[in-house]
Amino acid sequence: MVVTVKLSKVTKTFKKGKRNVEVLKGVDLVVERGACMGVLGPSGTGKTTLMRIIAGLEVPSSGEVYFDDKLVSTSNRIIVPPENRNIGMVFQSWALYPNMKAYDNIAFAVKNKGEETRKKIEEIAELLDILHALDRYPRELSGGQQQRVALARALAKDPSILVLDEPFSNLDARIRDSARALVKKVQKEFGVTALVVSHDPADIFSVADVAGVLLDGIFAQVGSPLELYDSPVSASVARLVGEINELDGVVEGGKLRVLRGVVERRDCQDGNVKVGIRPEDLRVSETEVQGMISLGKVRVKVSSYTGSSFRLVVSPLEEEKVELYVNSDRPMPINSEAVLLAKPEKIKVFKNN
């Protein structure tokens, strides 16, 4: 039975020597039945702790955890132990049992061992393309295969919720994308509620329907991955979700002044602000471009090739210390001068703190 997972004001305090460290500071979270939620955050913000609390491996210091309407953990108490929560979990280290072949690893989680189970395991293995690896030991498998065995083990028992802890961080960059696609596919196919924890926004964008940014033990923002990318609530969220240029700006009478450019911003209060512009929302050009505003003249410092596009590092002529990343469809000579243009609607304004 797939469940809805609900966390209410969950806190977690660890004792480190004489000091109390509050890792989670009142987390509220709902993962709807069948949805895939991504939790994004830098290391040390309590992502793993949050996941372990949901799995029942860690006790919340206060707050409640519900699976549907059933209370599974409450303040300092685990009501349903992890072995009875029917969770499918993929660990960052895969945590395959080294003494068992892949098949036995997968079957270990399944209660009844009949012919039906064998058929089911083979079906899952076929879907994950590890049929030929079933009679091998984990040490004989590649990283990608191990990850898929771990995923198969998590799925074989028809879990109520699938929890994935940094599931792609141990994979080669080359196969990471196909692994992400596969996880997304099986999650939808099995209709299982899923929680993916990662520090890499690419994981969240490719897998999650809804994502939350965990900062300092609290969700700074929850929304669709696109929302997080396009309308981040703070500079820290913006920085976590993707690369961004951060500049100082001033708002005066509904006008935002940044570098040499002026943009209409009626929604902002007067005063000093932080301005964020993603590299793909900037352009370097000799001429005016329709729909973009000029931020002044810049000098090209670095021009490099990254895969299919060019990446420039530019500095305003009068402010050599400020450096901005700009995506470009063509290389530019070093030290050449050009006009920096920005899409005005994509310029993000944050409170100065």
């Binding site: 491996l57 006790v59 072995e83 049992y97 028992k157």
Partner: protein, 287 residues
Amino acid sequence: MSEFGPTVKAFLHQLILAIFVVIWLIPIYTMVINGLKSEFDVTSTPVFIPPLHPSLTAFAAVWSQLDVPLLNSVIVVIPVSLVATFIGAMAAYYFYLLSVSKRRSLNFMSNTIFSLIALATFMPYQAVIIPLTRIEANWGLLNTYGGAIFAFILFYIPTAALLMSMFMAVLPRDIIDAARIDGSGDLRTFFRIVVPLTIPGIISTLIFNVIEMWNNFFIPLVLFNVAKQTLIPVAVESFTGGYGTLYNESFAAAFLASIIPLLIFIFLGRYFIRGLVTLGTGGKGAV
């Protein structure tokens, strides 16, 4: 580094190893060749020179007196070391579970019991042999297998638990968590995952226990007072008499007494070494 080629270096390594092997083989060599000498030869010829006319007389004479103690030792030591190692491993896993638990009370309990066990391991058994003998005398356990088994179990379970705890400490936490999440109870996890992963540790502990118990002289000396019914170390010692020593028979007895630990070490020794390596590096030698 540069002066020697790789062949010379390999040769030097092998040579040094060979020298150590020879040094370690000397006791066994002398036991065998001097056991094969006659009573006159053993005192009149140098100890490293093999006999001109080897004879099995000394071995035969010794065997007739050692057969029962040897059997006694096998009956007591092998099952007790198996049981002690098994219970010790279970205890060690329990400590592992307590130590990874976040509950402060359980942590405290783990530390307390663990300290007690360490204390029990390091306490010299000579210190408690008198009360132990009193208890065994009251229960009528002197001169019985039961008495020796009871004493050994008492002294060697803590040792096994302590040794196994070191091997358990390197168990990857994720794997144990994964087993819990997969709905496995503690007992199933222990048998299906912990035991297979700590096999080198279990075998090392087993060998250690067998050898320690096999060589234990003091406990059988006190708990048995009938010469023929005692365990092997006491029986071997009886060849060194108060009025004179039959050296050829002493050598033969010593050799017969060391055969079983030697065989165990030869067949299981590689696990012992692997176990030591695990302990030494803190790596996952079991995996």
